[in-house]
């Protein structure tokens, strides 16, 4: 079963890359951007067919390795 997780920086954490992307977008003429925050996206294929168990497994991975909870939040966005 495939589970996806999105890792984003917490609100208070400075995201210089997001800022530069924002400025570049501005320079290209995309003037309607308020803010850009860059994150990470993971697709994980697990040997588990129960959606609840698969989600719990990936959640545990997020807590222990994929995200650093001091600066990042994680969200499981889909299971299929």
């Amino acid at each position: 079963m495939k589970v996806s997780a999105v890792i984003t920086l917490k609100k208070d954490v400075l995201d210089p890359q997001g800022k530069v992307i924002h400025e570049t977008l501005d320079g290209m003429g995309f003037n309607s951007v308020n803010e850009v925050r860059q994150g990470k996206y993971f697709e994980i294929d697990v040997k588990e067919n129960d959606p609840k168990k698969a989600k719990d497994l990936v959640e545990n991975m997020c807590k222990k390795l994929l995200a650093n909870l001091v600066i990042e939040n994680y969200k499981i966005i889909e299971t299929q």
Partner: protein, 227 residues
């Protein structure tokens, strides 16, 4: 005095650290990250470099390697552990010192000499150091120290900030902050003061002809403190 330097895949300051420690009288051993057990040591050093190519987050993969269980146990039982640069990043990912190291504020890899102020000498690493400001070298892309407000309060209350970026006279301010670190923090201790993580490389300042000798001062003092 015995020391061990851990080599991770992608470490590149491990040999420099070996040379530095040996020069000042440590009997040093190199330890591979996939080993389970540490040789008997008075000091463990996690060296600088780019372990695992900085994949995911700097130091995150190395912090889960086999040898790290032994390093964590060693630190928890009061053993001296020092992480330099990437080693500092590994320490924060392993939870041995608080906070994280973010990308440098101005998105540039910084490679230059800096001055650091030694504020807290009530620990084995800096006790009796007769210089307040050291000139050391930094070379990093992710050295921007960050922690939550609660963590910062705890760190300050417990006197855990080891060194600050400063000018040559020891003044700390925003202008001389190279990477955006909170409070100009360049190095930090754990609560018990037996684990030190710092971005500057003392092992690069041990030769009067090639660099400065402020690293020599640090290592000589450290050896005397451990004896």
């Amino acid at each position: 005095m015995k020391s061990s330097v851990i080599t991770f895949p992608g470490s590149n300051c491990d040999r420099d650290m070996d040379v530095a420690l040996s020069k000042f009288g440590f009997k040093n051993k190199m330890v591979w990250h996939n080993d389970q057990e540490l040789p008997k040591s008075d000091l463990i050093v996690l060296p600088g470099g780019f372990s695992y190519g900085d994949y995911l987050r700097c130091g995150s993969m190395a912090s889960k390697s086999k040898i790290m269980n032994s390093v964590i146990n060693f630190a928890k039982s009061g053993g001296l552990v020092m992480g330099i640069c990437n080693g500092f990043q590994i320490l924060v990912e392993a939870g041995l010192v608080p906070g994280v190291l973010l990308r440098n504020k101005y998105l540039q890899f910084i490679c230059k000499n800096v001055h650091v102020k030694v504020d807290n000498k009530e620990n084995t690493f800096f006790k009796n150091l007769d210089k307040k400001v050291l000139e050391l070298h930094i070379a990093h892309n992710e050295g921007n120290y960050f922690c939550t407000k609660d963590q910062l309060k705890e760190i300050e209350d417990n006197n855990q900030i080891a060194i600050y970026y400063c000018d040559q006279n020891g003044n700390t301010n925003n202008q001389i902050n190279p990477n955006g670190s909170i409070k100009n923090i360049a190095g930090i201790l754990n609560k018990e003061k037996n684990v030190l993580g710092m971005m500057p490389h003392p092992e690069r300042m041990i030769d009067e002809n090639l660099s400065g000798e402020d690293g020599s001062i640090f290592f000589k003092n450290l050896l005397n403190n451990i004896k």
